[in-house]
């Protein structure tokens, strides 16, 4: 359960950060919704990347 929650938190937070950064960039440059979409996708990719890293090397073992 704990690992599942960790994976969820890593994945969701990366996507949320990507979306938030994109939204703010759009607000600054007035290019809505270009950056929001691009960074939301990148954030989702970063979320998968985070999850992949957990799967490959569970933390707590010797790195």
């Amino acid at each position: 359960m704990n690992l599942g929650f960790r994976v969820l938190a890593e994945f969701v937070s990366a996507a949320v950060v990507g979306g938030a950064v994109g939204w703010q960039l759009d607000k600054w440059f007035g290019t809505s919704p270009l950056f929001l979409l691009v960074l939301l996708l990148l954030g989702t990719a970063a979320g998968f990347w985070n999850v992949y890293r957990i799967a490959v090397k569970p933390p707590g073992r010797k790195p």
């Binding site: 969701v12 949320v16 950064v21 990148l42 990347w49 933390p59 010797k62």
Partner: protein
């Protein structure tokens, strides 16, 4: 009654001593009071636990020693021997979160880790330390953290962007994990408690009131596990992130 049944009411912050400094609300609240209690309790465990230093440890002394060895092993395992210079930091963080979670389980107490601003402050402190130490120790080489080796040059800009987003998301996932676990657990307990009270007042249905009561007992045990586990997870992830600052580059 409505207030007693409201599962969110327990997270209200109420000022005990009102204090306004330079236009800022610096009141001494119930959250501050419990932080003070947590610090005193954690200090008391270590001070009284290590005051006798007998060969055959008392219960308190072995509790203090076990906490020390547990965290020391965690730090050594995930950040190497070099990571031991951060041991005081990780140990304080672990004890504070552990005591905050455990004390919060006692009825009528306030859980400081169920406030996202508290957990986020810790997470920001951890990431701030990682960045500061990484830059001081490695200078611009610290940025190598964002450039994994063995990536095709065409893909590099994307990978770097993804790594940066993944790095920024760390303080958020670190803080939300602890906060959400505590918040959800305490709301569940309170809702179950509300069921008991509501069923008792519902005439013939009072006969099934023991069911949610039994659920509370089971959930309290589960929350005890979550409280310790989340403190451990917070400490171990701190070590993993510090390890990145000590050895950047994959």
């Amino acid at each position: 009654m409505a207030e007693a049944m409201d599962p969110i009411h327990q997270f209200n912050i109420e000022p005990i001593v009102k204090l306004h400094l330079f236009g800022l609300d610096a009141s001494f609240t119930n959250a501050s009071l419990f932080m003070l209690i947590i610090v005193l309790a954690a200090s008391a465990l270590m001070l009284f636990g290590t005051s006798k230093r007998s060969i055959v440890p008392s219960r308190l002394q072995s509790a203090a020693e076990m906490a020390y060895e547990f965290v020391a092993n965690t730090v050594r395992m995930s950040a190497g021997n070099e990571g031991m210079k951060f041991f005081p930091f990780v140990f304080s963080l672990f004890l504070f979160v552990l005591f905050a979670n455990l004390i919060g389980l006692i009825p009528y107490t306030f859980t400081v880790t169920s406030q996202i601003i508290v957990t986020f402050a810790f997470a920001a402190l951890v990431i701030g330390l990682v960045i500061a130490y990484g830059v001081i120790r490695h200078g611009t080489h610290f940025l190598g953290l964002f450039v994994p080796s063995g990536v095709a040059p065409a893909l590099l800009p994307f990978i770097v962007l993804i790594e940066v987003i993944s790095f920024i998301s760390r303080p958020i996932s670190l803080s939300v994990r602890l906060f959400a676990n505590m918040l959800a657990g305490h709301i569940t307990l309170k809702v179950m408690g509300g069921f008991v009270a509501a069923l008792l007042g519902a005439g013939a249905y009072a006969i099934i009131a023991p069911l949610p009561l039994a659920a509370i007992v089971a959930l309290t045990a589960f929350e005890l596990l979550v409280a310790v586990l989340q403190a451990y997870v917070f400490a171990i992830l701190t070590c993993v992130y510090l390890n990145d600052a000590i050895h950047p580059g994959h």
